[in-house]
């Protein structure tokens, strides 16, 4: 299935999910489009940051072991 997509790192498929989760979380906490947009960006930054740190720790541990 989708030979080209088979070469894409699996990590990439997590990015739309981060965007979706951030958007739904923002949209269920706000009502105005501007606030939803700002909150979505806020949550994307936080989620990518936290997950990036976790990934970095796992990568370092994998490199050490």
């Amino acid at each position: 299935m989708m030979p080209l997509a088979n070469t894409i790192p699996g990590l990439v498929f997590g990015l739309p999910l981060i965007l979706l989760a951030s958007f739904v979380f923002a949209a269920t906490h706000h009502e105005s489009p501007e606030r939803i947009r700002d909150a979505t960006i806020h949550w994307v930054v936080w989620l990518v940051g936290i997950l990036g740190i976790v990934l970095a720790i796992v990568a370092v541990l994998g490199w050490l072991v």
Partner: protein
């Protein structure tokens, strides 16, 4: 308290009832039976007018059936449309990535499909899986909708002759001789789930993850339809609302 933003007032009018005043009416409403049965509104967390939740339970059910439909029923079409597009889009993308095999319901001992619990929260779009599972376990031994969202056949599982022929014709991994002939049924020799995993590889897991997350996030959407936005107005929002800005 997560229901703080949900209040009952006699009318829904953003100009007359800024958020601060509505919050006051909420505390009175608890003690005053005269306002019982009034329309249910939620405070906008962004200093906007109160949100008319209409019939919140109906809205919640609508949002479960079709993500965002409850919000559209409440007149919040922008949010409803976005929820519908994003959640349904993610669910269908996951279904596509998983080759149409990742959404199925199975309660057979040893092969319970727990991810379906999350997928079912996406509503109607996941419901064919229940019909298919019941059909396969029923007396006909045949899913009524063909192979779409049908659970995988386990080793030794009996199916109708027609479904066995349909599987052999449509599934590239299944041949007619993969079944024992046991009139009036046929018995599967292999393990269809293993065949799916071998063919789809990581796409099975990615598709499952997408469809599960779509369902889980729809729970938040249902709650938004039931009780309004989860966020609380800040002091600044309250001031803006009270000043009509």
């Amino acid at each position: 308290m997560f229901l703080t933003g949900r209040v009952r007032v006699a009318s829904v009018d953003g100009g007359v009832n800024p958020p601060g005043e509505i919050a006051l009416k909420d505390s009175r409403a608890k003690a005053d039976p005269a306002v019982a049965g009034c329309r249910v509104v939620a405070i906008s967390p962004d200093g906007g007018p109160p949100i008319d939740l209409k019939n919140p339970w109906l809205a919640a059910i609508l949002s479960w059936l079709l993500p965002g439909l409850g919000q559209i029923y409440q007149g919040r079409s922008f949010k409803g449309g976005l929820f519908m597009g994003t959640i349904l889009g993610t669910f269908l993308a996951g279904l596509f990535m998983g080759g149409g095999k990742v959404v199925y319901a199975s309660w057979r001992p040893g092969e319970v499909r727990w991810p379906y619990v999350c997928q079912a929260a996406a509503g109607l779009v996941a419901m064919p899986a229940v019909i298919q599972s019941m059909g396969l376990q029923g007396s006909s031994r045949e899913p009524p909708l063909g192979t779409f969202m049908a659970p995988p056949l386990g080793p030794g599982q009996f199916v109708s002759v027609r479904y066995a022929d349909q599987l052999a014709a449509t599934d590239p991994d299944i041949a007619p001789d993969d079944f024992f002939d046991k009139p009036p049924l046929r018995q599967f020799k292999g393990d269809e789930l293993s065949l799916w995993h071998r063919r789809l590889g990581r796409w099975f897991e990615i598709g499952t993850l997408y469809t599960m997350l779509a369902g889980m996030l729809n729970i938040l959407v249902v709650y938004d339809a039931l009780s309004g936005p989860l966020g609380m107005p800040t002091d600044e929002d309250r001031r803006k609302g009270a000043n009509g800005k």
